[in-house]
């Protein structure tokens, strides 16, 4: 019963409101429902004024915005605005953002409508407003929550893994080949070439690749197989030198470590490719690892590697380059498999745990998609609206 009453009230009010505003529009062209507010979620540099979209019969072609600072006389802001300038499709309201304000003053606005015939009619003045800088962007709350939730899942999973519980990781095709490749290089007495791609040191793929390199280095240290690493990024070069040195130390073979095997070629993409290609042809490595972030040079490297008959194990999260590695290499780690491979080989609880945390993230997206499809089909679209409105 109570419900019905409220509905009735809303209906009555809306009709009344529409009727009066319609009357207003036809009676005079003066803008109605003019409201000025401090623009939400900004740094206090603007005030937003909104008013109703005029009726099509009103003949209004544009608006002037007048403002008054601290109660002084009204003055016109900028040029006359056309209807297209002010109508906001999303909210179906007219909107103007005054960015010429200072946080120290208060402002009052009048909207002046201009018709085809040049008639001018003023709206009533708004209440006075002042702008404040917001500390937190409320539109970003969902983003913030998602970030916290996911962080908690990752950190939780890592602690779970560190507590000594066994973490399962599924078999990753291609990883068995790592030992085979190293073994073959040792048998043939040839070198191993390890290419980390073009990524910088903060790329996930580069870090995953460095972890795998660390594991490969442990194995080559024992067999004294030369491990050659040409670098493209100056910072990566320095980190890799330290990492490989540590691997050799851990295996008790610091004598086998040769810093000259890890070197910088150039930052330029194709000059780097030319250099690495030259190395492949001249040194004829028995095994080639292409792991990390790659761009167009991927196939130049992979085809040349294939032509010298080396075993090639590739892995990248650059999805555009995956087809070429699949075509030209013996084994390819696809996208996230690269990250998983580093966890799989290193067997470190931190990596294994976060892999599990990422699976929770996937499960969540899974659920969101299924729920979203059902809701959308029943005409409820708050999930898509929410995802869209996050700025």
């Amino acid at each position: 019963m109570k419900h019905n009453k409220i509905c009735l009230w809303i209906a009555v009010c809306t009709t009344l409101f529409l009727w009066t505003s319609l009357g207003y529009c036809q009676g005079s062209a003066a803008p109605t429902n003019v409201v000025a507010i401090d623009t939400p979620n900004d740094d206090g540099s603007s005030i937003t004024v909104t008013w109703d979209v005029p009726a099509e019969t009103s003949g209004i072609v544009g608006y002037n915005i007048l403002s008054s600072v601290d109660g002084a006389e009204f003055s016109k802001l900028g040029e006359q605005l056309s209807l297209d300038d002010v109508i906001d499709q999303e909210t179906n309201m007219c909107m103007y953002q005054d960015t010429s304000i200072s946080r120290l003053n208060t402002y009052t606005y009048i909207i002046q409508a201009v018709t085809e015939t040049g008639e001018i009619s003023d709206s009533q003045a708004t209440e006075s407003v002042s702008a404040k800088a917001q500390i937190f962007h409320t539109g970003k709350i969902p983003l913030f929550l998602a970030m916290l939730l996911f962080s908690a899942a990752i950190v939780g999973s890592i602690y779970h893994a560190r507590s000594g519980k066994e973490v399962f990781v599924r078999r990753i095709p291609g990883l068995e080949a790592v030992d085979e490749a190293i073994g073959r290089a040792t048998e043939m007495g040839r070198s191993i070439l390890y290419v980390l791609g073009l990524g910088s040191v903060s790329n996930v793929a580069t870090i995953a690749s460095m972890t795998i390199l660390g594991q490969v280095a442990r194995r080559t240290a024992d067999y004294e197989t030369p491990l050659r690493v040409p670098c493209n990024d100056p910072v990566v070069l320095n980190v890799v030198r330290e990492m490989v040195k540590t691997s050799y130390l851990d295996e008790g073979r610091p004598d086998a470590y040769n810093e000259d095997n890890i070197f910088f070629i150039t930052e330029s993409q194709f000059a780097y490719a030319a250099g690495v290609d030259g190395m492949m042809i001249r040194e004829q490595p028995a095994a080639i690892f292409l792991q990390g972030t790659f761009y167009a040079e991927s196939l130049i490297l992979a085809e040349t590697g294939n032509s010298i008959g080396a075993i090639q194990i590739a892995g990248t999260d650059s999805e555009a380059q995956l087809p070429f590695f699949i075509a030209a290499c013996d084994y390819t780690l696809i996208g996230e498999e690269l990250y998983a491979a580093s966890a799989y080989l290193a067997r470190e609880p931190m990596l294994l745990g976060s892999l599990r945390g990422q699976d929770w993230g996937k499960l969540f997206i899974f659920g969101l998609i299924v729920l979203g499809v059902i809701l959308e089909l029943t005409g409820i679209n708050w999930i898509t609206t929410l995802l869209q409105n996050v700025r």
Binding site: S268, Q269, F270, Y295, A296, S307, E319, A320, R391
Partner: protein, 272 residues
């Protein structure tokens, strides 16, 4: 014979590819081109901008991709200059600096566009993400001067342009993931409208953005360039090259088919 075909030396393939390019180039052939929707959308978006609007043109490619992207840039510039749409050009690629400035000067000369009034070339600043973000607050904060060292405050065209709020569209001509960066940082954070022209390899990477409406339009590869040249009404290299392209594609398809026939014939012979 089949086993020979299956394990054919790759250098024979190289020779065939070279011939497939050289022969059609000597005898120029022309085939019809139809216009795809994303290209049309980009063209319409610019065509509907009022005279005196400003678009930003990012030359985010090095010389290695100029084959596909230069014809696009040329067609876009012709359209803008003809319509009186101002162009603010820049690059996030160190390598793109000379290349872009040469091209812009060339087209400007053809179309009688004036440096500083119809277009500005800002040049290059390192650190792609930072540059994109920085211009969101103030373009002059990142590029104090244009490439020739003239302060932005003294350039007539830049008088009213502070940041992205005064830019009607950004077109990113890209050979790598820069459109992602423009979308993530300029579109998401500053609501800048973005269109793109990309190399063939990038096309499939751009489709998600096209579908979500984060890109207003897209020119894809040499075909996109040919389409745009058609729309602008000035057929040039793009049109010529797309024809040669056809022959090489046919060759690759043919090679794959022959390879498979040989493979299966070879296998069935080994089995028997």
């Amino acid at each position: 014979m089949f086993s020979r075909l299956v394990n054919m030396d790759r250098r024979y393939v190289f020779i065939l590819v070279a011939l497939a390019v050289i022969i059609p180039m000597l005898f120029s052939v022309s085939l019809p081109v139809s216009i795809s929707e994303p290209t049309q959308n980009l063209y319409d978006y610019i065509e509907n901008l009022p005279k005196g609007s400003t678009i930003m043109l990012a030359f985010d490619y090095g010389p290695s991709s100029l084959a596909e992207l230069n014809p696009m840039a040329r067609a876009l510039l012709i359209q803008c200059f003809r319509k009186g749409v101002n162009v603010v050009a820049l690059t996030l690629y160190a390598d793109g600096t000379t290349l872009a400035s040469t091209l812009i000067k060339e087209v400007a000369e053809e179309m009688n566009a004036i440096d500083g009034e119809d277009y500005v070339f800002l040049g290059f600043r390192p650190g792609a993400t930072q540059v994109i973000l920085g211009m969101g607050t103030e373009i002059a904060g990142v590029f104090e001067t244009d490439l020739s060292g003239k302060p932005l405050s003294e350039i007539p065209m830049m008088k009213d342009i502070v940041n992205y709020d005064q830019i009607d569209l950004l077109v990113d001509l890209a050979s790598s993931a820069t459109p992602d960066a423009w979308i993530i940082y300029a579109n998401v954070q500053y609501n800048l409208k973005i269109g793109a022209g990309v190399t063939g390899v990038m096309i499939s990477q751009m489709f998600p953005y096209l579908q979500t409406g984060q890109l207003v339009g897209l020119m894809s590869g040499i075909l996109g360039a040919a389409e745009y040249e058609n729309l602008v009404g000035m057929p040039a290299k793009g049109m010529q090259w797309i024809n040669v392209e056809s022959f090489v594609h046919l060759l690759v398809v043919l090679l794959v088919v022959i390879g498979n026939i040989a493979y299966f014939a070879h296998r069935s012979r080994e089995e028997t």
